[in-house]
Symmetry: C2
Subunit: 210 residues, 2 copies
């Protein structure tokens, strides 16, 4: 009993490494992510990371595929797509945006990755970007035929609103108040959701003075 050698279970070790990546990102942010840190967090020798995954990029890819960071299309479009499509443009767009906000709010790790992609574009962030294939964009393309009907620049307005949601969520990671709105509390997000609904109703209704 000279060494408390590990459980000698490859699957368990590999899984521990994966989970260490997640907890590390969630706790210390993407900044602190490195081979040494991951090995330390997982209580594992870093050489095993190389052996089992190959290196950081492959590890990141495995991590990205193993978890469900990315809001699925169904999560944003809702269960009943028929119902969504039978709504007015304003209602359906507002609903999707709100679903988008809620889905992202549930995923601190996703937010962390988005923040990281904001400051560094390298092979690692590229890997994660390829994993998700930008679900948000895809969802908006889902009902693209409806968008061209309105006379207002619907694309520009939805672009503004989705960008706004992303930014507020990113800022909420370290800031409580954004321009008098509490972007951390549920009440603050109810205000934001209401504002989104108002904007959509006022600007995306057919016949509105664009």
């Amino acid at each position: 009993m000279k060494k408390a050698s590990r459980s000698r279970d490859r699957l368990a070790t590999a899984d521990g490494i994966l989970r260490a990546v997640g907890t590390l990102i969630a706790r210390d942010g993407f900044m602190a992510l490195g081979i040494n840190a991951i090995a330390r967090e997982a209580g594992v020798d870093k050489v095993l990371i190389y052996r089992y995954f190959g290196g950081m990029p492959e590890l990141l890819r495995a991590f990205g595929e193993s978890e469900e960071f990315w809001p699925s299309a169904s999560e944003m479009l809702g269960d009943d797509i028929e119902a969504l499509m039978s709504m007015s443009l304003a209602e359906s767009v507002a609903l999707v945006l709100i679903n988008f906000a809620r889905a992202l709010r549930r995923r601190p790790i996703t937010l962390e990755i988005m923040a990281w992609e904001m400051v560094e574009r390298n092979e690692l962030t590229e890997v994660l970007r390829n994993v998700r294939e930008d679900v948000a964009i895809r969802v908006f393309n889902e009902f693209g035929e409806k968008l061209v009907i309105a006379d207002a620049d619907v694309a520009a307005i939805t672009t503004l609103l989705s960008a706004a949601v992303s930014h507020l969520l990113l800022r909420s990671r370290d800031t409580e108040m954004y321009n008098t709105v509490d972007i951390r509390s549920d009440k603050g997000w109810e205000r934001i959701e209401r504002a989104i609904t108002v904007i959509c109703k006022q600007c995306l209704l057919p016949g509105g003075k664009g």
Copy 2:
């Protein structure tokens, strides 16, 4: 003439260090900012950075105070504050938001710092945050009395719009198209400005059905 020793001009070297910080941030982003990189870029021994500034935080503070990254209040409110205040709420808010976007678009270094603040909150970013004192918020507080009049949640709507502008500008640093909008070209930003104007007009006009 064994050594091409420097010009032996403290002011000049100190200024060179400051300028090196700027070019380094603009070219390689905040990620690459460090004592060694700065010294290398300025062609100066790093010990002089410690001697003349004390260290990175003090250097950053000096840098923040020496340049005009931050859009001034007048730049966002325009020359004629009286005229601005005599406009309708919708018009004045839209104008300030558009001025905000244009001012930030002219300042790639400011965008770089904002991106950096998104991913790391440490003494360095804190220094820069204290330097600017969040001009944007201050400006919106400038005409706070007008905001409470409308029946819609004006604060929430302006929060959304300013967050949207910030996010689109941050993303424009490394992405061309955001949701079918070209966020790098002037034409794309004209679309965005028009959308902002539409939203303000439709949602901030008194009597609008909030």
